[in-house]
């Protein structure tokens, strides 16, 4: 879920006449903070502030230390803040340690799991998936704790769409949502379950974070627009397969598998192109 890039590059025209004065680097953190506050003030989603603060503090602290050690600079904390707050919202556990551990795993994965200088997993997707695999008796993720009412979701959809449009990544969210809905009807037809039950997950809070933050992370998505559309469609396909196997956390696991695979393919293709270009220059 972390938005690891500083900012997607905007066209010159957009840079000349900004309609939104806030530095883009702060848009996503501001949005997710609004979601957190709205969720908490309306539904009390945070069982304790301390757990969320622990997740954020761990995330930012570790990012600063690791950035200093490995990049020899103080890394801007916006990305780590999003990772921390995502962990704080999505992880549900009565214990404190899973919040710190999930944040630590998420941030550290960025520095360890790198190929050709790029990290290939979305940090919080990696952290949460690992926690669900390894600490299932202590950890679940947010799915129901935001109530089941339409209004908060409409607000999130509206705000999220505007922001994601501004960041020129709406196509990713749009393709995913359209694919999910189409596959929901196919699953309903295949399993005989009411179509409403297949649509239900995307009307819940967990998916809002997934579709606006996790699948759109610039650092862990491929670069071309067409590639991004294909990848997010494949995420929906794999999710559909996992759902047919009744995997509760199908979207997380689908992104966990498809995202890095796409990244590795892109890195491999880039590498071949670079080699070919080098060869051409040499000749």
């Amino acid at each position: 879920m972390s938005r690891q890039t500083s900012t997607p590059v905007l066209p010159v025209q957009a840079q000349k006449t900004p309609w939104f004065s806030l530095d883009n680097r702060y848009i996503a953190p501001a949005f997710i903070t609004c979601i957190l506050l709205a969720g908490h003030l309306s539904f009390g989603i945070l069982e304790s502030y301390q757990k969320t603060l622990l997740a954020i503090a761990t995330s930012i602290g570790l990012e600063l230390v690791l950035g200093r050690v490995f990049f020899h600079k103080w890394v801007h904390p916006a990305s780590a803040y999003i990772t921390g707050i995502s962990v704080g919202i999505l992880v549900r556990s009565p214990a404190f340690w899973p919040y710190a551990l999930c944040s630590a795993i998420s941030i550290t994965s960025k520095y360890v799991l790198r190929v050709k200088g790029r990290h290939i997993w979305n940090p919080s997707n990696f952290g949460i998936s690992v926690m669900l695999f390894l600490a299932a008796e202590t950890v679940a993720t947010l799915s129901i704790q935001w109530g089941n009412y339409l209004l908060p979701m409409l607000v999130i959809w509206a705000l999220g769409s505007v922001i994601i449009w501004r960041l020129r990544r709406f196509h990713i969210t749009g393709i995913y949502v359209a694919s999910f809905i189409a596959f929901a009807f196919i699953r309903s037809w295949m399993t005989g379950s009411p179509w409403q039950s297949e649509i239900a997950p995307i009307t819940g809070p967990m998916y809002q974070l997934f579709i606006f933050f996790m699948i759109t992370d610039p650092k862990t998505t491929v670069r071309s627009k067409r590639g991004q559309c294909l990848v997010v469609f494949l995420v929906a396909v794999v999710e559909m397969v996992l759902r047919l196997d009744q995997i509760v956390y199908a979207p997380f696991y689908a992104l966990f598998v498809v995202g890095p695979t796409a990244m590795l393919i892109e890195i491999w293709v880039d590498s071949r192109r670079a080699n070919a270009a080098k060869l051409t220059v040499t000749q």
Binding site: T108, G192, A200, V248
Partner: protein
């Protein structure tokens, strides 16, 4: 360059360490929190000071609960919507000095049972001859619970039958039979409730009745006009049944006063219980709600005000299914245990153990959830739980039953459940949107928890070691000294399963004391005859423990009204202080151990 490599190597090791952390924590906690080895009686006695043996067949009890079969429109999810109704309550209905057992059944045409204690280790069902068996007839709904209280102060415990359907009040005719007095009492024609308790909220010496609705009372579950009967939200639902508080007028009639006294919730109540949590002399009311937060009502003797958020217990919404009070630290203050749902990797709500915060008292009392710290947090899909000193060591232990729906062991409904539960209210609220169960289990076949209290803030699960090894879908638990031996036996009502009697054998060196209280209400003075709300504080060996006579606690359950205290070996009892609901305080100096003390309220 070398420095960078070393740093990278350290980073990789750190990362591996992070990934290994859950395994390490799991290993440490599994060694610390439970004794999962099965042990024979001798070993269990030596190790934990008691042993449970399931003796229902030998005791002449072969009761098997039957779930209701509701409107066919609900057939696809019938196991879920018909998943409650098994209950057990303890009463000495004929005042022979031996506790009897009343259990509910929930299929149309099925019979409830009143197991009369035969004093020889066996029981005999007397419900039919006494007129309280055939209470699940078509058109009247089915039983979901029962609570006993002497509402007319004639010395005999009367029966209020909680139902999805027409609730019933039966007057106890001096132990020889029961007379149905529902209409005369002024009770509502239909409720869909799972919890009710007797309490004297205004201290007038007459027992009042609180009923917490679950499904809305305008729904006839056998003749649905709509399938929109489900909660509108999994954790924020307010479309459940209404609450009732029936004020006892003393002439066999009750007046419904809930709105007048400040109770107007429509949350999905599952477990209410009452105790004087602040030392105010008035019974407060705690309601554990499904699909939402718990509610705590402070009582000033005339009215209630809800203080859930203020006290800390009403903030995080879960799936409350139990309310039990226990002075777990022997400090003269009650902790409150609320059970919820925990399913590995899917939904970890964790049960709540609300312990009063240090330094907070009276109206300013605050609670903190210490279930994790005390080791009583994870109990599967938890239902009924009760505090009681199972090994007579002087501290209150905790028995928890659990398990929701046990059908096909190899196929789970959890995926479909989580899919719909997170959806929009228009989806979750309509039963027709829920995928069919098709014989799958949902948190079924679960191991029970018997948590032993070490008195210093830690509980250890010894269920398997001491013989509580069943895996039925447990609902209701009571603790009772069934055979007047000075030990607490355990009775468990299981949904679609047998009634279980766990006979307790306790290490003989641990001693005990019991109190049977009787109020002397007359002309609005004195306490109700059942002494519900009376507190006994026992002082021994430099410590104290408080217990209160209850008009219903746990989940759809009522323990024996007699209060049982374990004392440990060689106790030096200083005194027992009884505070009667009337406000009278009675002190008994140096009461003898290993005895039942029958106490009547002084004039």
């Amino acid at each position: 360059m070398t420095g960078n490599r070393i740093a990278r190597a350290i980073l990789v090791l750190f990362f591996i360490g992070l990934l290994a952390t859950p395994f390490v924590i799991k290993r440490i906690s599994s060694g610390r929190d439970a004794d999962r080895s099965k042990a024979d009686a001798k070993t269990a006695l030596a190790r934990h000071g008691f042993y449970l043996e399931e003796v229902s067949q030998a005791a002449g009890i072969n009761f098997v609960h039957q779930s209701p079969k509701l409107d066919p429109k609900l057939d696809p999810i019938m196991p879920e919507v018909a998943s409650m109704g098994a209950s057990v309550s303890i009463v000495d209905f004929d005042r022979d000095g031996w506790p009897d057992i009343y259990v509910t059944n929930s299929a149309i045409g099925s019979k409830n049972a009143l197991y009369r204690n035969m004093h020889d280790g066996t029981f005999k069902d007397a419900a039919g001859e006494l007129g309280i068996a055939d209470v699940n007839q078509a058109g009247t709904g089915v039983s979901t619970g029962a609570v006993w209280g002497d509402y007319d102060n004639d010395g005999y415990e009367d029966l209020f039958l909680i139902k999805w359907g027409r609730p019933e009040l039966f007057h106890n005719d001096q132990g020889h039979g029961f007379t149905r007095v529902t209409e005369q009492a002024g009770l509502p024609p239909w409720i869909n409730a799972n919890t009710a308790i007797w309490l004297d909220y205004d201290g007038d010496g007459l027992l009042d009745l609180f009923i917490g609705g679950y499904y809305s009372e305008d729904i006839d579950l056998w003749n649905l006009t709509t399938t929109r009967i489900m909660p509108e939200s999994f954790e924020y639902a307010k479309n459940g049944g209404r609450k009732y508080l029936f004020h006892n007028l003393g002439n066999g009639k009750f007046e419904e006063v809930s709105a007048k006294v400040g109770i107007s919730s429509r949350r999905w109540a599952l477990a209410a219980a009452s105790a004087d949590l602040r030392g105010s002399g008035h019974p407060d009311l705690f309601v554990a709600n499904d699909y939402g937060v718990s509610e705590l009502y402070f009582n000033d003797g005339k009215g209630f005000h809800e203080v859930g958020e203020q006290t800390g217990v009403g903030f995080a919404p879960k799936s409350g299914m139990n309310t039990a009070f226990g002075d777990i630290l022997n400090q003269g203050r009650y902790a409150v245990y609320v059970s919820n749902i925990s399913e590995d990797g899917i939904l970890i709500q964790g049960n709540n153990l609300w312990v009063p915060k240090e330094g907070t008292t009276g109206d300013a009392i605050k609670y903190q959830n210490l279930a994790r710290d005390f080791g009583v947090e994870l109990g599967g899909w938890s239902f009924g739980a009760q505090f009681g000193d199972l090994n007579n060591d002087g501290t209150l232990d905790l028995y928890l039953t659990n398990g929701y729906i046990s059908l096909d062991r190899n196929r789970s409904y959890w995926y479909d459940f989580s899919k719909v539960a997170g959806g929009n209210s228009t989806i979750i609220g309509d039963a027709k949107n829920w995928p069919a169960f098709e014989g799958r289990s949902l948190s079924g076949y679960q191991s029970k928890r018997v948590w032993l209290n070490d008195g210093a803030g830690k509980f250890v699960d010894v269920a398997q070691a001491v013989g509580a090894t069943d895996t039925y879908d447990g609902r209701s638990v009571v603790l009772v000294d069934l055979w007047n031996r000075g030990v607490l036996d355990v009775v468990v009502a299981n949904q679609n399963g047998p009634l279980l009697l766990y006979k307790n054998t306790v290490a003989p060196e641990n001693q005990w004391i019991e109190f049977e209280l009787e109020g002397t209400s007359s002309n609005h003075a004195g306490s109700n005859r059942s002494a519900i709300g009376a507190q006994v504080t026992l002082f021994w060996n430099g410590q104290q423990q408080v217990q209160e006579v209850s008009g219903g606690s746990g989940f759809a359950a009522q323990n024996d009204r007699r209060l049982h205290f374990g004392l440990g070996p060689n106790p030096h009892i200083e005194k027992a202080v009884i505070r009667w609901p009337s406000g009278k305080v009675q002190t008994i100096d140096k009461p003898a151990a290993n005895q039942l003390h029958k106490m009547r309220e002084p004039a």
